[in-house]
């Protein structure tokens, strides 16, 4: 177990370094820089600004400086704002985290419910209804659903605030809009895998021993049937909590999503690289958690070669 964790973390660090390197090189290979603009500054001024960020050093020196900072947990200083990348993340991450966790929680519960119901009542109207709901969830872009939710839930019914979420109630609408797509995917994964699981021998044994249908589905079947959902939840959670531009913008939530896009369009290299590293860090972490959860859910996996 410990060996698994250590080796996965080492692999994760390698992926992090690779992502930081690729982003760094990609950004520096591109024409233009963060301080090139339409109206030319005086050459001396331009030079001074660029010197401050060491933009005239050889590339390998810039790279070495950035990576050694990264190794010490220092993400660098924004080139456009008077603050460090760490400060930006610290201030805005809590919003994205709250929204993301609520969205993934909603998606996991609602999606699993739909998928399991559909599998348990395979090829009946329950199945068709549940799967249609899931498919509709996947098919409506949040850019369409979000404004509709604001108009009807917030402006006409007044159930939730239209923007600027405060407290749990304020996050309900954006979390539902954001989570619906994931719920649809989870429902489809859960249905396919539950159908397979419910056909397994050990389920027949459970039935033969007289376990109630409800117990068979929700206790015996669900445990294994949820494995694909669990492995989907890892990357999905990482993606959701590191900021979702569209939903955050529509509902005016001051999360990290804005900085992802803004750092690209304004060429704020340290912010973009920092945010990417932050996201990939979560990705590695949650994928590791998924693997650990796998061993806990299905002991057979713990003892097989998967741990290697």
């Amino acid at each position: 177990m410990l060996r698994l964790i250590v080796s996965r973390l080492a692999g994760g660090v390698a992926v992090l370094a690779a992502v930081a390197t690729i982003t760094f090189l990609l950004l520096h290979a591109a024409p233009g820089g963060p301080f090139s603009r339409e109206r030319r500054l005086q050459p001396a001024v331009q030079r001074n600004i660029e010197d401050r960020y060491h933009l005239h050093d050889p590339l390998w020196q810039q790279y070495g400086r950035y990576m050694s900072g990264l190794a010490r947990g220092d993400l660098g200083h924004s080139m456009k704002r008077p603050e460090t990348v760490g400060a930006i993340i610290k201030r805005h991450f809590p919003y994205s985290l709250t929204l993301g966790l609520m969205a993934i929680g909603f998606a996991a519960v609602f999606g699993t419910l739909l998928g399991v119901l559909a599998a348990a009542r395979k090829n009946t109207w329950v199945d068709y209804t549940a799967m249609s709901v899931a498919l509709i969830g996947i098919s409506i872009p949040s850019l369409v659903l979000g404004p509709i939710a604001i108009r009807y839930l917030a402006l006409e019914l007044g159930w939730v605030p239209a923007a600027r979420a405060d407290g749990v109630v304020g996050y309900l609408a954006p979390a539902a809009v954001l989570g619906l797509i994931y719920a649809g995917t989870i429902a489809r994964l859960a249905r396919a895998s539950m159908i397979e699981t419910l056909g397994a021998d050990y389920i027949r044994t459970a039935r033969a021993k007289g376990v109630s249908e409800r117990g068979v589905v929700w206790r015996h079947g669900l445990r294994l049937g949820l494995l694909p959902v669990v492995s989907y939840l890892g990357p999905a959670t990482a993606g959701l909590i590191s900021g979702s531009f569209v939903v955050e913008k529509i509902f005016q939530i001051p999360g990290l999503g804005f900085y992802f896009v803004d750092s690209v369009t304004s060429r704020d290299y340290p912010v973009l690289t920092g945010l990417l590293v932050f996201y990939v860090g979560f990705l590695v972490l949650f994928n590791l958690l998924v693997d650990l959860a796998y061993g806990w859910i299905d002991p057979r996996i713990r003892h097989s070669e998967r741990a290697a």
């Binding site: 992926v15 690779a18 992502v19 690729i22 982003t23 990609l26 950004l27 591109a30 024409p31 233009g32 090829n123 498919l135 509709i136 996947i138 098919s139 409506i140 872009p141 850019l143 369409v144 979000g146 404004p147 509709i148 604001i150 108009r151 402006l155 396919a192 993606g239 531009f245 569209v246 529509i250 992802f260 896009v261 690209v264 369009t265 060429r267 973009l272 990417l276 996201y279 990939v280 990705l283 590695v284």
Partner: protein, 286 residues
């Protein structure tokens, strides 16, 4: 006794029997046809995508403008149809690009095996770790391109990863089969085996996944348009129209309703069709 039917024909028959999926296929064809022919027909009635009707700014649906007008007085029906052209072309070309890269990558990795396979799949793993949308955004913003072709190609170039994995998995099992062994025995070159024997046998799965890729590419285009890196004005795509509508939903909801509905229906039809195709090609999953 009836003649034995080919697998493809058998699958087609099963798809026809799945009424909803078949309806979705027809539905998508109708939408696509409307988008490409519709604007011409509307032109005969004096409606086009750019004329400003200054009497009717942001007007609700009426006989003159069935889907209403936007805040510049442009007819939304024609704009939705014209926008659909770009959305559909984006979906199809990006999918084609992803298809070519993904199938080639997966087939080569799976068939070569060993170290080649390991390296090629590590590349896929690393790219998976990267939020693909960031790739597109970075390249479009940094290289400052607004060309449509590069938009299509880029969306395709980041969407092939899952395709490569799926194809590789299929090839791994195909590789062990007798008919591949036989081809090798009669001296067929690896390239010939991959092109003529391996890839054709993965096409069923590939087609199913392709129908899912089209809506994904459309959604990517929408996102890019939302952040201002997609299709540039005066061109309109469903992405730009939905973006426009999303800002006016409080006062003129029809500006969002038209394009939103068109997009939702198209994506729903394609997703449903994908499910139907999967069931038709591999009936065991149902």
């Amino acid at each position: 006794m009836s003649a034995p039917r080919s697998l493809g024909r058998e699958a087609w028959r099963r798809l026809r029997k799945n009424r909803m999926a078949f309806a979705c296929l027809i539905g998508f064809a109708v939408i696509a046809l409307a988008c490409f022919v519709g604007p011409v027909v509307c032109g005969w009635f004096g409606l086009d995508a750019t004329t400003l009707d200054l009497e009717l700014l942001a007007a609700p649906p009426s006989a003159a403008h069935p889907l209403g007008t936007d805040n510049l007085g442009r007819d939304l029906l024609v704009r939705v149809l014209v926008g659909g052209r770009i959305a559909i072309v984006v979906g199809l070309t990006a999918t084609a690009v992803a298809l070519v890269i993904g199938v080639a990558w997966g087939a080569i990795a799976g068939y070569a095996g060993g170290r080649v396979d390991a390296v090629m799949m590590r590349v896929v793993d690393v790219m998976y770790g990267f939020p693909t949308i960031v790739f597109v955004v970075v390249i479009r913003a940094v290289f400052d391109t607004h060309s449509l072709v590069s938009l299509f190609a880029l969306i395709g170039a980041v969407s092939w990863l899952t395709m490569a994995r799926i194809v590789r998995g299929q090839v791994l099992s195909l590789r062990q089969r007798e008919f591949i062994e036989a081809a090798r025995a009669i001296g067929a070159s690896p390239a010939r085996i991959v092109l003529y024997h391996v890839i054709p046998n993965t096409l069923g799965t590939v087609v199913v996944y392709a129908t899912v890729l089209i809506p994904q590419a459309m959604l990517t285009e929408t996102f890019l348009s939302f952040i201002g890196l997609g299709v540039q004005a005066p061109l309109a795509s469903w992405g730009t129209l939905v973006t426009e509508g999303s800002t006016q939903v409080a006062v003129s909801p029809w500006v969002l309703a038209g394009p939103g509905l068109a997009m939702g229906l198209t994506i729903f039809a394609l997703n449903f069709l994908g499910d139907g195709l999967r069931d038709a090609i591999d009936p065991q999953t149902r």
